[in-house]
């Protein structure tokens, strides 16, 4: 009789858990990291490592201080660190990267209860705080391959400043100045395809986000191809607008979220004072997520329709 096991459901389990998903995300981020190192040299790797190490250290420390179970084993702090580094210019002072990790992990993530409880994306919020605080350092861009003994290593602006005439092939490959992880659309797309294939993200979300930007910039007389290839759009759409904790859980909500992100990004890029609007768009839509969740989009089983039988 010992062979007959009686247990409540569920009876089937999947091996997928938080650490497996985060591991997939880390793998998907690797092409963009390699692209960043190729274009911006060892400095990009140093900034990324500093962000990762400080994020994990802050996570360990704050869980220890708050006497809670330690969560560094789920790799989420590593993902936050990599995403934060990808949103920073390669020449950023190291202590600013550490300060950004502090804001991301302690203020945005752990003070609200840790993984799954934060209402805003930690990496995006930390980037915005750094941008609001250190405007000069956050917009000092290195030229691609400038580390190979170039005389004029510091560029004045990203392609976003003069987007209409930028070379789309350079934007696609990543041969432009910008943040560490955002320059190469090709590398980010590889990661996005991997995540879609592994069913970690729903490809409709980044497609809606990018498609919205494409359509609206086209309607406003901009160069839509360059708009979707430049800046942090690919990075934000694939890796940040698909974050589980800070975006709506059901598909309809996800699409509203992505649509809103696209509209706000376009508005800031075309009419705003900042050249880039992806991070602001994602943060604003993060804040709207609880409201989007209140729109009923799934009919409960057996719900009666108005004036009719079930």
């Amino acid at each position: 009789m010992n062979k007959l096991l009686v247990s409540p459901s569920p009876h089937f389990f999947t091996r997928t858990d938080t650490s497996a998903i985060m591991f997939d995300v880390i793998l998907a981020l690797f092409p963009a990291l390699i692209a960043g190192i190729v274009f911006f040299g060892p400095r990009a790797l140093i900034v990324t490592l500093v962000c990762v190490v400080s994020c994990v250290a802050f996570e360990w420390l704050v869980r220890k201080i708050m006497k809670r179970s330690n969560t560094i084993g789920d790799y989420s702090a590593i993902v936050t660190g990599v995403l934060l580094a990808f949103n920073l210019p390669p020449a950023i002072p190291i202590w600013m990267a550490v300060l950004g990790s502090f804001f991301a992990i302690i203020i945005v993530k752990q003070l609200f209860g840790g993984i799954g409880q934060n209402f805003a994306n930690p990496a995006i919020t930390a980037r915005i705080i750094l941008l609001a605080s250190f405007g000069t350092q956050m917009t000092t861009w290195s030229k691609p391959f400038g580390y190979q003994g170039g005389v004029d290593a510091v560029a004045s602006a990203t392609p976003l400043a003069d987007l209409y005439w930028a070379n789309p092939w350079d934007l696609f490959i990543g041969n432009v100045s910008g943040c560490i992880g955002e320059v190469s659309a090709l590398a980010l797309l590889l990661g996005g395809i991997y995540l879609s294939f592994r069913k970690v993200i729903n490809p409709l979300v980044p497609l809606t986000f990018i498609g919205t930007v494409f359509v609206f910039t086209w309607m406003l007389g901009e160069n839509p191809v360059n708009h979707i290839l430049a800046g942090g759009l690919m990075l934000g759409a694939i890796f940040m607008a698909t974050d589980y904790a800070t975006t709506p859980p059901v598909l309809g909500g996800k699409l509203i979220f992505a649509l809103g992100c696209g509209i706000i990004t376009t508005l800031i890029r075309v009419f705003g004072n900042y050249p880039e609007g992806v991070s602001f768009a994602i943060l604003l839509m993060n804040l709207l997520t609880p409201l989007i969740d209140r729109i009923p989009m799934v009919n409960p089983l057996g719900k009666r329709k108005k004036g009719g039988a079930a």
């Binding site: 300060l99 203020i107 705080i129 609001a132 605080s133 250190f134 405007g135």
Partner: protein, 222 residues
């Protein structure tokens, strides 16, 4: 009534900004520099003490139906006095505080103390209450202003704390104001041992209980 407690309750236990969350608008707006916080706090304390004393003296002569307009007239009189004084003696501070100086008239703290305390208690107690609440307001503003000034501008009461420090502009911005405000409220909650209890949900456990008229009647919030 214990006069000493009447004075000290405004400092932390019933701090008007950090516990009762009144007067949030000037708190967030003028605290980019510690000096502004001090000036705003001093001006508000002066108005609060004077209006508390005068309202306490007149409490038997003001008809209940028109008490709010009467209080506002008294408060506005003192605010006008303070703004003329500042304008002639401290023009720089007057410029820095701007419209928020006139807005002391509609500061919830002053009207709140007039309604909840001065119109029910004697002159001496009202004076001490106004002084305690005003000092609590001033201390909160100086604290928030000092944190924001040191981190956001790299100075303390206008003195540079050194070139090694790179100011973090976020703390000078309104968002940073809300952030520091929230952190200081959390600190005060720890200091005053305020605990969120699931058993005592009702007016009696609210930190505003002693300031709020409803709690005395024993009403319980639904």
């Amino acid at each position: 009534m214990n006069y000493f407690r009447t004075f000290t309750k405004g400092l932390i236990k019933e701090n008007p900004v950090l516990v009762m969350l009144l007067g949030t608008c000037p708190t967030l707006a003028v605290t980019t520099l510690a000096m502004n916080g001090l000036g705003m706090g001093a001006a508000t304390t002066f108005v609060l003490v004077c209006s508390n004393v005068v309202i306490s003296l007149l409490k038997n002569f003001i008809p209940k139906q028109v008490r709010l307009p009467s209080f506002i007239v008294i408060i506005a009189g003192f605010v006008t006095f303070v703004s003329f004084m500042l304008r002639s003696n401290f023009p720089e501070l007057y410029e820095a505080l701007g419209v928020f100086l006139s807005l002391i008239t509609v500061n919830c703290i002053i009207l709140g103390r007039a309604e909840m305390f001065a119109s029910k208690n004697n002159v001496c107690a009202s004076f001490l209450d106004g002084l305690g609440m005003g000092l609590g307001f001033t201390l909160a503003l100086i604290l928030i202003g000092a944190i924001r000034e040191v981190l956001g501008s790299g100075t303390f009461f206008g003195l540079s704390i050194g070139d090694w420090f790179q100011p973090i502009g976020f703390f000078s911005s309104p968002a940073g104001g809300f952030f520091v405000f929230g952190c200081v409220i959390a600190l005060v909650n720890v200091l005053s041992n305020y605990k969120m209890s699931s058993k005592k949900i009702g007016c009696a456990s609210c930190p505003n209980a002693s300031a709020c008229g409803q709690a005395e009647k024993g009403e319980v919030a639904e």
